[in-house]
């Protein structure tokens, strides 16, 4: 099914005119206004009855030119913009950007800042996975998990709001560390959240993991092999569900992830059910990491010595982190001025979306919805 030679062949759209008159084939335009395309994704489906012969994604409906904006802002001024890419995982975006610029400036955030960064980023991973779970289940027809996940996600957003005043586009980190010291009771609240959240994961699993209909809808749906994943550049839980143990937190430790003890959950079949299990396991691992980080939160400064006006030496740097959706990379070229010469973002959603065609061929229309859900794309990040 996932023979790379056949699955990776480009969709022959020029044959549309020829086949459109063929009564067996139906071309359906799904989106950009469609309840299940998670925003403004447009998918052109070629159907034989209900079977998907091929599809093409049309993107760009949410293009805001974030990368171009970056060329006209100073390094500090561009920081809030990155939050608007993957708006459900804004903290991860900020972490990626700040670390990239730090690498360019050759500074390192102090340990306390690193710890707080890890706590907030892992909380963000949980929040992002919760949103994914709710919407994914909703797409497949289970409406109740959405409300459970949103109820619990609220607790994370409350912590963010208390820490930095914003709930979604947090702008939590600064280049060189943190702008704000943690508020009084931060550690206690995070710990409270962890004890509150652990049983909640079991609650979600109770609704879905052994649910007959859920298993039938997700097992062997949207299967992708490890080979195809690597060929397409797919990263994150999608890659891990196909059996590749690749997590940048372990592979190229950034922040201070090497100090924490956690596992990389992987799947075997690379189907939607495995991706579901991998993400559920990742939430548990995130809880583990946060627990360790908050237990060992060191005292000390929260900002490294960073010049007021940043003028990094001319050169280029690429740095990537493991965002909830996969590898989030920033490539920044500096010409020695206060503004980057070029900012290039490698968003995980954009790259993962390429796999949609491979995963959907030969499946049914209902599976396309399930696969879009399981890819966990955010159109703000795809289009930038």
């Amino acid at each position: 099914m996932t023979d790379p030679n056949t699955t990776l062949s480009p969709l022959e759209l020029e044959s549309h005119d020829k086949t459109f008159l063929d009564a067996n084939e139906l071309v359906i335009n799904m989106g950009p206004q469609h309840p299940a395309t998670h925003g403004v994704l447009r998918v052109i489906l070629r159907l034989d009855g209900e079977k998907v012969l091929g599809l093409e994604c049309v993107i760009g409906y949410l293009h805001r030119g974030v990368e171009k904006i970056g060329e006209h802002r100073t390094y500090t001024m561009f920081n809030p913009y990155v939050d608007r890419m993957d708006y459900v995982a804004a903290v991860s975006n900020g972490l990626g950007y700040c670390e990239t610029v730090e690498k360019l400036l050759n500074v390192e955030a102090p340990p306390r800042a690193q710890h707080v960064r890890v706590i907030l980023t892992e909380l963000n991973r949980i929040a992002s996975h919760q949103l994914w779970l709710g919407t994914h289940a909703l797409d497949i027809g289970a409406i109740t998990p959405l409300f459970y996940t949103f109820r619990d996600r609220e607790e994370i957003l409350k912590i963010y709001e208390k820490y930095c005043g914003a709930r979604l586009t947090t702008h939590a980190f600064r280049i060189g560390g943190l702008q704000y010291e943690t508020y009084t009771g931060f550690e206690k609240e995070v710990k409270n959240f962890l004890t509150f959240f652990r049983p909640k994961i079991d609650e979600y699993e109770e609704l879905l993991t052994t649910n007959r209909i859920w298993v039938e809808r997700t097992k062997n749906v949207g299967t992708i092999s490890a080979h195809d994943c690597i060929a397409l550049g797919v990263t994150g839980p999608v890659l891990r569900a196909s059996g590749v143990k690749w997590d940048l937190r372990k592979a190229q430790p950034y922040a201070n992830y090497k100090n924490f003890d956690f596992e990389i959950p992987t799947g075997q079949n690379g189907d939607t059910y495995d991706r579901y299990l991998v993400r559920m396991a990742e939430m548990r691992q995130s809880v583990r990491i946060i627990q360790q980080a908050v237990d060992a939160l060191p005292e000390g400064p929260i900002m490294a010595k960073v010049p007021k006006v940043m003028k990094p030496a001319a050169g280029e740097v690429y740095h990537s982190i493991e965002a909830p959706k996969g590898e989030l990379g920033y490539f920044i070229v500096s010409d020695g001025s206060t503004q980057p010469y070029r900012v290039r973002v490698r968003p995980p959603s954009f790259v993962n979306l390429q796999a949609l065609d491979v995963m959907c061929r030969g499946q049914l229309v209902a599976d396309v919805i399930a696969v879009i859900g399981t890819l966990d794309i955010v159109l703000g990040e795809v289009d930038r």
């Binding site: 359906i28 309840p35 409406i143 409300f147 039938e216």
Partner: protein, 432 residues
């Protein structure tokens, strides 16, 4: 005047349904009553569904329009009536116009034979159950017409799915129904298709058919209970209107009043199939467990139930009236809720009058059983993900159909053994 009184009295003492007695005037009155009752039921169901689903999903549901959103369905209805009537430019006008009418007519016409009590039905046909199954499957026609006439991809796929689904589940449904009908023919009697007679047979045999030939009756009931959800296109079989895939399925292009006709028809159909299930397996209007809890004391106790139910609802209203915020802005809502409670309480008190309570018994038990099914419908919707089309078909043809056949054969075999025992072996024994 005396004639009219006589006329009313003659009807009230009749033991036949107005239709079967050839009493056209009363039949007409009954049609009005059933239609009004069903419309109220749909309004109540609409509110209950939103409320119950909301509470299952840790939210409140409608709270703004009226106390606890009680007036929300009415507000919705007004909104739908006032909406612009849109017909797509490329649509086939006549078919587009006809489709909702067919669906709603098919869904309502089946209630002609639904027995709310031994005499509380519009009519009693000797082909009752056949009529119900036949007419209710006419709504497929309306759905296909709606999908086709909209001249759009999503409605077309929705209509195709829906018709395929309804047609294939009707087979399993029919087999389950036949096994119940077979059960009516036991005890050296001819079988019957009349809805009223089916309930009477359960009364005579002293057992609801769900418990008959355990577990055969139960399995047949289970098959029907699954098939009826598929038949009415409700979750987890709501593929025809799968909002995440096909936006709204066959009624994507419909809006305003036409859409509300589809909505009405869906709820009518839900009540109709639940009525079939109640009539065939759960003893129709009979009070619970006729074989165990029969006799005068139990009749006495059960006769209080309708009144108690309404008093309980009234008490709930008063409890929530007390809990209402004590803010001037909430005064009207508080008074409204209290007034609603008073109305419910008065109804409850009226239901304690013996003359009323004996007459209302049948209708109460029938409605209570149907209401149980309605709750199940909501529960399914809150719990299950949606089946995929091929899985749905697989379930219909590969699981439910063989099961239905098995149950049918089993019922026939046991019934035959029963007949042989009673007509051959027992007389032979006596003769010896």
């Amino acid at each position: 005047m005396g004639q009219i009184v006589q006329y009313v009295e003659s009807y009230l003492s009749s033991d036949k349904t107005p239709g079967a007695a050839g009493n056209m005037f009363w039949a007409l009155v009954y049609i009005m009553l059933v239609f009004a009752g069903l419309s109220v039921a749909v309004i109540a169901m609409n509110w209950l569904e939103r409320k119950i689903l909301a509470h299952m999903q840790v939210r409140l549901g409608p709270m703004r329009v009226g106390p606890h959103g009680l007036l929300q369905p009415i507000a919705d209805a007004i909104k739908l009536l006032l909406k612009e009537d849109i017909m797509p430019a490329e649509a086939d006008g006549f078919v587009f116009w006809m489709a909702p009418l067919i669906v709603v007519l098919a869904a309502f016409t089946v209630f002609v034979v639904v027995p709310f009590g031994p005499t509380h039905a519009i009519t009693d046909m000797n082909i009752g159950i056949l009529f119900m199954l036949g007419v209710s499957s006419l709504s497929v026609l309306g759905i296909v017409m709606a999908g086709w006439a909209s001249n759009s991809h999503y409605p077309l796929i929705g209509a195709l799915r829906s018709s395929a689904q309804m047609v294939s589940y009707e087979v399993a449904m029919g087999l389950a129904v036949v096994s119940a009908i077979l059960m009516t023919s036991l005890g050296s009697k001819d079988g019957t298709l009349s809805m009223i007679e089916i309930v009477r047979r359960q009364q005579e045999q002293g057992v609801w058919f769900i418990f008959k030939f355990f577990p055969l009756g139960l399995i047949a009931f289970f098959i029907f209970a699954v098939a009826m959800v598929a038949e009415t296109n409700r979750a987890p079989f709501d593929l025809a209107e799968a909002e995440s895939e096909l936006t709204a399925g066959f009624h994507t292009e419909y809006s305003g009043f036409r859409w509300s006709l589809f909505f009405l028809a869906e709820y009518f159909a839900m009540i109709a199939v639940s009525s079939i299930a109640v009539t065939l397996w759960l003893g129709g209007w009979l009070q619970p467990f006729p074989n165990l809890l029969s006799g005068t004391p139990w009749d006495q106790i059960f006769s209080f139930f309708p009144g108690i139910t309404f008093l309980f609802l009234a008490a709930m209203c008063f409890y929530n009236t007390v809990r209402m915020p004590k803010h001037p802005l909430f005064r009207i809502q508080t008074i409204g809720l209290a007034g609603f409670g008073v109305i419910l309480g008065l109804i409850g008190l009226v239901l304690f009058i013996p003359a009323v309570s004996t007459r209302i018994q049948d209708i109460f038990w029938f409605s209570a059983k149907v209401a149980g099914f309605m709750y199940l419908y909501i529960w399914y919707r809150g719990t299950f993900p949606r089946y995929r089309f091929d899985q749905l078909m697989q379930m219909g043809w590969k699981v439910l159909l063989p099961m239905g056949l098995g149950v049918l054969i089993g019922t026939g075999a046991i019934g035959l053994r029963f007949e042989i025992w009673h007509q051959l072996v027992v007389p032979l024994w006596h003769w010896l």
